[in-house]
Amino acid sequence: MATTGTGQEEFTLDTASQLAEEEGGARIEGRSPWALAGRRLRRNRFALAFLGLFVLIVVACLLAGVYAHHVSHLGQNDTNTGGVITVNGNKVHVISQGHTTIVNGIPKIVIGGVPIGPQWGNAGGQYILGADVLGRDTATRLLYGGRNSLFIGFTSALICTVLSVVFALLAGYFGGATDWIISRIFDLIWAFPVVLLGIALGTALSLNGFHHGPINISGNSLWIPIGVISFVFIPYIGRPLRGQVLALRQREFIEAATAQGAGSLRIMFSELLPNIASSVLVLFTLIVASTILTEAALSFLGAGVQPPNPSWGTMIADGQGTLANNPWLSLWAGLMLALTVLSINVFGDGLRDALDPRAKVRIEH
């Protein structure tokens, strides 16, 4: 209890908290940085709204297998080129049949081979968002494609982050030759243009798959784009983290841990890792946005997800052929991609502001 009266006592932070307690009755409690960050994040309504949008997209795609076929009556890869559906009582071809009709004496040419556009609810749940050139249901493929895109984006971001963290810890902690070798590996991967390296690896791997040693992956497996994308982004996370570990390595608490007899592994994972955790989290959100866009780019070019499997990138490419007469196909897939990546970016910004209002973590492109 602080003694008041003489005014000669030393006034410390403890005295302040005791005084506050006497006056207000409430104790001042220490809050962990994570709790403070959580509170700042909860106050950022904007970031939370976009997190909500992102969760909505993910849940809708993940549950596609539960509800999609009940609505559209078609599976993700079911074709229906000769199909006829009933729209408001009229029979309509899913893929238009080319013919000429006379309307008021003027011949009108109907182009063949154009897939049907969005039917919204008019066809009893079929082709809500239209069809592609093979008569497949766009809405169904959009959901399953989203599942593939999100799965590849997240898994590759996760693998990439884990590898980068391990590399950064090893390089920063051991320094010397280890650091030199790991930094040169980063330099080498960095020297390739991301999309081109992705294409090179993706094409080479999808020829016959990967069959070396105990690993056997077939050419159209989703693990090929996942492996390719997680590999090309390693230096983009590894480099900034290595710098942070290198700086932390010189701090007193590491010296203290060494003096207590802590081994290398314990220092790396119990002392250094918690101190870079907030950066890792922020970099992870930034890299997820990049991996999802890269997956779309590779799949668009034909070096990512292999047909007939859908992904948002392959769907944009599918729509390219019918762009003039039916732009919807490309539109939906790109819109979903843009919304997903935007929501991740907005939430990532909010997360960065919450974790450290003065942080300067960013991904160099």
């Binding site: 040169r184 330099d187 080498l188 960095w190 020297a191 390739f192 243009p193 991301v194 999309v195 081109l196 390296l197 294409i199 090179a200 690896l201 094409t203 080479a204 791997l205 020829l207 016959n208 798959g209 990967f210 069959h211 070396h212 946005a289 866009l293 779309a296 780019a297 668009f300 070019l301 034909g302 070096a303 948002w312 990138g313 944009i316 490419a317 729509g319 390219q320 762009l323 003039a324 732009p327 490309s330 539109l331 897939a333 790109g334 991609l337 843009a338 990546v341 935007l342 970016n345 907005v346 910004d349 300067k360 960013r362 160099e364 492109h365």
Partner: protein
């Protein structure tokens, strides 16, 4: 300074040698099985396969094969598996389109990036800043292929644009020497498509750089001297904030030249180096992809070295490290 430059050039050569070895691993070792089997087709006789193996030098050991690959690239004798055309020659023919696309887009994204970032920083917290920040976030979230297709649909005769008459051509490349007006006309949409992502990104980086610099001591000194705020912004704040942007530009520009513009080239059928790679994917033509990848990496490594040297020239402290 001379020692620094020599060291960097030496480092660049080492990196290029390592890069070529990685490319060799990707294209010759990874594709499971024997490239000769793939080339010989389905009805190959053992003698047939053996002769292809010998022709391609596949019976040599790893180091010799790698050396042969580099040699064929350097002396321009690398031949496409698919149509037998000369890969190095095709890359050379693609260069004008790729350079036209990248230089134009680079000027647009650097100019607008600086404009947007500065505007956003001097109005920080106000409505203009919020709108720009929002647009920049949208810009960095758009898939390039999609943006290209949407622009094609909206502004060319193939889509909605057709109802307004032809606004822009749907793609293709007209050489600058042939018709400068058509050259610009054909490149406007591709330039915008390629630049949007970078405008958003540079705007964001510059905004935070300027906001950091404004709190520096030398800015306070300038204010204390009674300089006008315009002069402080242009002569003091911007000059300091733009250094990281220039570095970024050097590296991004190299990446775009080195194959980063492949999607834009594919969407607009610009027959540049990226388009070459795009076509090689569908025909699974590994030598072409190998040539383009090495060409791209060489550009990035070369530009990184230039940026390093320019940086060391501007800031002598860097030369020591």
């Amino acid at each position: 300074m001379v020692a620094f430059v020599i060291r960097r050039i030496f480092g660049m050569i080492l990196v290029l040698v390592a890069v070529s070895f990685i490319v060799y691993l990707i294209f010759i070792v990874i594709p499971g099985g024997d490239p000769a089997l793939r080339l010989a087709g389905r009805v190959a006789t053992p003698a047939n396969i053996a002769s292809i193996r010998q022709k391609l030098g596949l019976d040599h050991n790893v180091i010799v094969q790698w050396f042969d690959m580099v040699k064929s690239l350097l002396n321009g004798s690398l031949i496409s598996y698919y149509d037998g055309t000369n890969v190095v020659q095709q890359i050379k023919e693609g260069l004008p389109a790729t350079f036209s696309l990248c230089i134009g887009a680079g000027i647009i994204w650097l100019g607008f990036g600086i404009l947007v970032g500065t505007l956003s920083a001097i109005t920080a917290g106000r409505a203009t800043d919020r709108v720009i920040t929002g647009l920049a976030l949208i810009g960095i979230s758009l898939p390039v292929a999609w943006l290209g297709l949407i622009l094609l649909y909206l502004f060319t005769e193939n889509g909605l644009g057709g109802t307004f008459g032809t606004l822009f051509p749907p793609g293709g490349y007209v050489p600058l020497s042939q018709d400068p007006v058509q050259w610009v006309y054909h490149l406007i949409l591709p330039w915008l498509t390629l630049a949007v992502l970078f405008i958003g990104f540079y705007g964001r980086v510059l905004r935070s750089n300027i906001l950091d610099t404004i709190n520096e001591d030398f800015v306070r000194t300038a204010k204390a001297k009674g300089l006008t705020s315009r002069r402080i912004l242009v002569k003091h704040v911007l000059r300091a904030s733009l250094i990281p942007i220039v570095t970024l530009f050097g590296l991004d520009f190299a990446a775009v030249l080195g194959g980063g513009a492949i999607i834009t080239e594919a969407v607009y059928s610009l027959h540049g180096v990226g388009y070459l790679a795009f076509q090689a994917i569908s025909t699974q033509d590994l030598p072409t992809l190998m040539g383009v990848t090495l060409y791209g990496a060489a550009f990035i490594v070369f530009f990184s070295m230039l940026v390093d040297i320019a940086y060391a020239y501007l800031d002598p402290r860097i030369r020591l490290t």
